[in-house]
């Protein structure tokens, strides 16, 4: 049954129009991934208004292609410029940049793109098989189960995010509070508007994404006085073919990293820990462990495979449960609602052409993506040679256009600037931004799930523990929330130093 549906999906994804959309998406996405300040999440957010007039399947193909492109673009800047565009590209710089410095940039890039492709492919195959099963199970979920999943989502930011757990929690709470601003649909009362009519429609998370990630990131990068010291790409077909001959040697790393990526990735905030974990494992099991950090190809392969596997896996909860695993997936979820689709398990029943078109387009998109980036790396690397005094205002203008287009509202551009300043301050103080955005997106859903659950139980919160599925999920969520407390205690028990090496947060 799955194969039949996938076949249906390929018939949709392989129409010339949708392939064209995919190519445009990958191209834009890679440019977005290369540019400082723009990444998957705000790139997708800025281009979301463009999709309003498209058929939903083509629209999601455009947005996902931008996402794949941005993932590829992150590898280019990490390897050639030592600038990780996204937190999960940090581990790629460890060996990628030294390789590029030694004139092996072409090898590193080929290795990175190929392993991204393999990691992505592995995750897509798993999604093809698991998504319908998960959606089937989720059909039996009631409000308590959905609220428990939300708890789990946010607890993994606290438990696995690696930063200050209080600050992670505060970020989540701010997101939820911003989500409650405006009209309460259940009672029809206005909340937190304090008499301002402008606040009635609430805060749009798309504006928040553009401001927090786009403008905030630009402010951070001008502060650091960014100077791009790029190395030559050194890409040609010979290098690509030669690298492909070496790569099968790392098959163990590919398999291990793909599993790590998928397993970490479908939980929120998983891509970054996945890439670090996979790097650490590769180093541990490698025969050339001492070469890691000095320009070892395997050190590029491991994090890239895991990061892409995780990036794709983040789509799994979005299409099956309607709960995004990353800010980028959250923006796509917002798109789904705007295009008139109801995210969640019913999507598989009501819009099979959309779901399977999307899944099939993941296959085609990644094939197109890897070929395009391999062919056009020098062009993409050129973008970073544009003077900074042009790039900075240009990105601000693009962000402004994207913010205005969402609701045709001038006020949104001001919100974008304000969110930009907030993003800058929060990033410096280590308040994670991803959970804030996710909470803002999921706020209404979480609140109505909570209310409905409490109505079922007549006010008793024990409902989340007594139902078997929600009980298990809630228990897991409580475990993650407690993880920052348990970990130091556990390490002390085993005689290890109190704090381990924590990866940077997303």
């Amino acid at each position: 049954m799955g194969i039949e549906n996938l076949w249906l999906g390929f018939q949709i994804a392989l129409t010339p129009y949708n392939i064209g959309i995919g190519v445009v998406g990958i191209l834009l996405g890679t440019i977005i991934g290369v540019l400082p300040g723009l990444g998957g999440a705000n790139g997708v957010a800025i281009l979301l208004p463009v999709t309003f007039t498209m058929p939903p399947t083509s629209a999601i193909i455009l947005l996902t292609s931008i996402y794949w492109g941005a993932l590829f673009g992150g590898a280019i800047t990490s390897i050639l410029f030592n600038i990780p565009g996204e937190p999960w590209s940090v581990a790629t710089t460890f060996d990628g940049y030294p390789m590029a410095r030694q004139g092996q940039g072409g090898q590193a890039l080929t290795g990175a793109f190929t392993s991204s492709f393999i990691g992505a492919f592995f995750s897509i195959v798993l999604i093809t098989f698991f998504a319908p099963i998960l959606a089937d199970i989720a059909l039996r979920f009631g409000p308590p189960e959905f609220f428990a999943i939300q708890l789990l989502t946010f607890s993994s930011f606290v438990g696995l995010g690696g930063g200050n757990p209080f600050k992670s929690l505060v970020s989540i709470l701010i997101g939820f509070i911003l989500a409650t601003v405006g009209l309460d649909i259940v009672t029809g009362q206005l909340r937190l508007t304090f008499g301002f009519t402008e606040l009635m429609k609430g805060f749009d998370f798309i504006i928040a994404v553009i401001g927090l990630f786009g403008v905030g990131e630009i402010l951070l990068s001008v502060e650091e006085g960014l100077r791009f010291q790029g190395t030559r790409t050194g890409m040609n077909p010979r290098v690509v073919l030669d690298t492909w001959k070496i790569l099968p040697r790392f098959w163990r790393t590919f398999v291990r990293s793909s599993f790590i990526g998928f397993w970490m990735g479908f939980k929120p905030g998983g891509a970054t820990p996945a890439s670090f974990m996979s790097y650490a494992f590769a180093k541990r099991f490698s025969k050339n462990a001492e070469r890691f950090g000095k320009g070892e190809l395997e050190g590029v392969v491991a994090p890239e495979t895991a990061a892409h596997a995780a990036g794709i896996a983040a789509m799994l909860p979005m299409i099956t449960l309607g709960i995004p695993g990353s800010p980028t997936a959250a923006v796509m979820l917002g798109g789904l609602i705007i295009w008139g689709l109801q995210p969640g398990p019913m999507l598989f029943k009501d819009n099979p052409d959309f779901v399977w078109g999307l899944i099939a387009s993941m296959y085609t998109g990644n094939v197109i993506g890897v070929l395009m980036v391999l062919a056009f790396v020098p062009f993409f690397a050129m973008i970073l040679r544009i003077p900074f005094a042009i790039l900075t205002p240009l990105i601000v203008v693009v962000c402004a256009i994207g913010s205005y287009a969402v609701h045709n509202s001038m006020l949104d551009i001001w919100y974008m600037l304000i969110f930009g300043v907030i993003g800058y301050v929060f990033k410096k103080l280590d308040y994670p931004l991803a959970p804030l955005v996710l909470a803002l997106v999921l706020g209404d859903m979480a609140e109505s799930a909570l209310r409905q659950s409490l109505i079922i139980s007549q006010g008793s919160p024990s409902i989340f523990m007594t139902r078997p599925i929600s009980g298990a999920i809630t228990a897991a969520a409580i475990f993650f929330f407690a993880l920052p407390v348990i970990t130091p205690w556990w390490r002390r028990l085993r005689g290890l130093p109190a704090s381990g090496h924590a990866p940077p947060r997303e």
Partner: protein, 153 residues
């Protein structure tokens, strides 16, 4: 860093208190048909105030020599911010495209010290490119001013 941490946490506590007061006004208990409107915000605000309290304690105990932002760092940040704010303010009277052209040109000349030719070419080329892509190709309308009106759009 410590001072910035303390200030941010305190501001967030004030925000929490504002939310709390509105939640109390709305009622946070059990209404005739389930939890009242203020129920969810109430618990969010209470938890947030508690968590910010913990951050305050942590920050007050810890000492950090690193400053939040140095004068050399703040300069470039403000150089991006205030012209951007000015450009956004200009967008209502003159439209987005003209404001963007002025912003791009100003920033390039002032910060980048590019030649006038490069400045004028970029400041004109980028908004025209954006205009073609958004208004013509994707049919997404942007705020327009008298110039666009004079040109017939």
């Amino acid at each position: 860093m410590r001072a910035a941490d303390l200030v941010t946490a305190s501001l967030l506590i004030i925000l929490g208190a504002v939310v709390l007061s509105d939640a109390v006004r709305l009622g946070f208990g059990w209404g005739p048909d389930g939890p009242r409107s203020g129920f969810f915000p109430f618990w969010l605000a209470v938890t947030m105030i508690a968590m910010c309290g913990m951050i305050l304690i942590q920050a007050a105990r810890g000492a950090s020599a690193k400053s939040f932002v140095t004068r050399e760092q703040l300069g470039p940040v403000l150089k991006v911010l205030w012209p951007a704010a000015a450009a956004v303010a200009l967008m209502r009277p003159v439209g987005l495209y003209v404001a963007s052209a002025l912003y791009l040109g100003f920033y390039m000349r002032w910060v980048g010290h590019h030649s006038w030719v490069a400045v004028i070419l970029t400041a004109l080329g980028v908004p025209i490119g954006c205009f073609l892509v958004f208004e013509k190709w994707f049919l997404v309308p942007m705020p327009k001013g008298p110039l666009e009106g004079w040109l017939g759009y």
